[in-house]
Symmetry: C2
Subunit: 276 residues, 2 copies
């Protein structure tokens, strides 16, 4: 089959590498509207051919959307004339808002997926060989998709080494919020706490593993994360409030020298690692 990838940054570029490496696609086509990225995509040889959108729609058996979540919504009108056998897969980090807005005419074709993987980097040069290897991909609301399309999607993601999980899009958005969206806004907040100090350089000179790990994802793309926070606003606000109540609880125990309860609270946090 031919695979067309729209957006060839970290996610799309790494997917292009993976489907080529595993010989899944006869040909990999790419489309980007970023002039800046075109040269990098060609230099890195990420796709067999960069084409315009209309060509990509005609030559691809599967079209994969690897663009920010608001841009996914913006693409819908372009797919209204798609062939009934063409599969469209979006890889956005939010699912509820996207699924709710898929035009009825392409609902059977349009697979809502979220590969739970990434790095803090973005753009074609961020593409890496094994981004998807051994990771989990979540598919949502598959009951509204045609079997032909579900099968093609499963085939591709399993072939590049992913484990499939299926869930309701609303449930996905809650889970992804705790596992990804909340950690990102906390990491941005931590980075800005330090950057707002009068002398961040001398503080950061002492950075070790803990701070480095906690601030790594504060390097992520503001454009991409703004869209995600917007589309998952309700869950994000709720998860921030849950986090706040934990942090305020800890703050209170420190302030009141209640180190016995604080130790119990930390022991509870330790139990995370019986699961993870």
């Amino acid at each position: 089959m031919n695979i067309g990838i729209i957006g060839l940054g970290l996610m799309g570029g790494s997917l292009a590498k993976a489907v080529k490496r595993y010989g899944i696609a006869k040909k990999v086509y790419g489309f980007t509207n970023s002039e800046k990225n075109k040269k990098d995509i060609l230099d890195l040889n990420l796709v067999d051919e960069l084409v315009d959108l209309e060509t990509l729609k005609k030559v691809s058996d599967v079209i994969i959307l690897a663009i920010p979540v608001d841009a996914i919504i913006g693409m819908f009108p372009n797919f209204l004339d798609i062939d009934e056998n063409t599969t469209i897969i979006d890889m956005g980090s939010t699912k509820g808002y996207i699924v709710k807005n898929i035009p009825a005419k392409i609902r059977k074709n349009f697979i809502a997926a979220h590969p739970m993987t990434g790095t803090e980097k973005s753009g074609p040069k961020a593409a890496i060989d094994d981004l998807y290897e051994g990771k989990t991909v979540v598919f949502c609301d598959l009951e509204d998709n045609g079997n032909l399309h579900v099968n093609k999607a499963f085939k591709i993601f399993q072939a590049i080494g992913m484990r499939i999980v299926v869930m309701d899009s609303n449930q996905h958005d809650i889970h992804a919020c705790f596992m990804s969206h909340l950690p990102h806004i906390l990491s941005f907040s931590l980075a800005n706490t330090v950057m707002s100090h009068e002398d961040p350089k001398s503080i950061i000179a002492l950075a070790a593993g803990g701070f480095k790990d906690m601030s790594r994802i504060a390097k992520s793309s503001p454009r991409m994360w703004g869209d995600i926070f917007k589309q998952n606003k309700k869950n994000l606000l709720a998860s921030i409030d849950l986090f706040e109540s934990q942090l305020q609880n800890a703050r209170k125990m420190v302030e009141e020298d209640n180190y016995e309860d604080l130790e119990k609270w930390m022991k509870k946090a330790n139990t995370l690692h019986e699961i993870l």
Copy 2:
């Protein structure tokens, strides 16, 4: 010289490995009051000999305290009869409270150090070969130490591959708070946010790099961190408040759909990585 290490967990055990590997000590002595750890220390061959405290004081040219910060304070009375040429180095994560409480009689001997390194693990089995390699060690308030002692301390830590930074103990406690203590309480809070959900297992099934990195240090020892939070209480509370104002600011921008300012805020967070 002979080095005596009190406490042979992650920090002390790794130091024993390092000084042996670099041939810095003629003999490495160890002392622990944990019966549970004694067998592991001997099985792992971390020291040449486990001795009692009085013996360790007599045979060591340098005594290193690698125990929780409250236990360091508790050890002071044991060192009042120390030889004037014996150096004592504490490796605690807080410095202000410790320095303030060093008995005058041993002030020249007692070097306040903080190697900025660690992992989330604890105990003798957590000891690793290269924990100190290429990392930074902070020495505080050296103006109150004798040159003999400062020179011995510098020699040891440089020989195991560390870079030396010198600062005032109060300044250290602020910097270490931002780089280590605040990140730890945030990580504990994030872990407890998820563990307090009705179904943490199904959520954690989707964990990827971001959450894993942000929750790693939530596995750290509650005993050790309770002591650190207690000794650095003032700075910790202040840094939590600074973090809170960043997170609340972000929350407000999301709530009010002010994505333009939110993007600017995230771009500021990105600038951390021009330094780190």
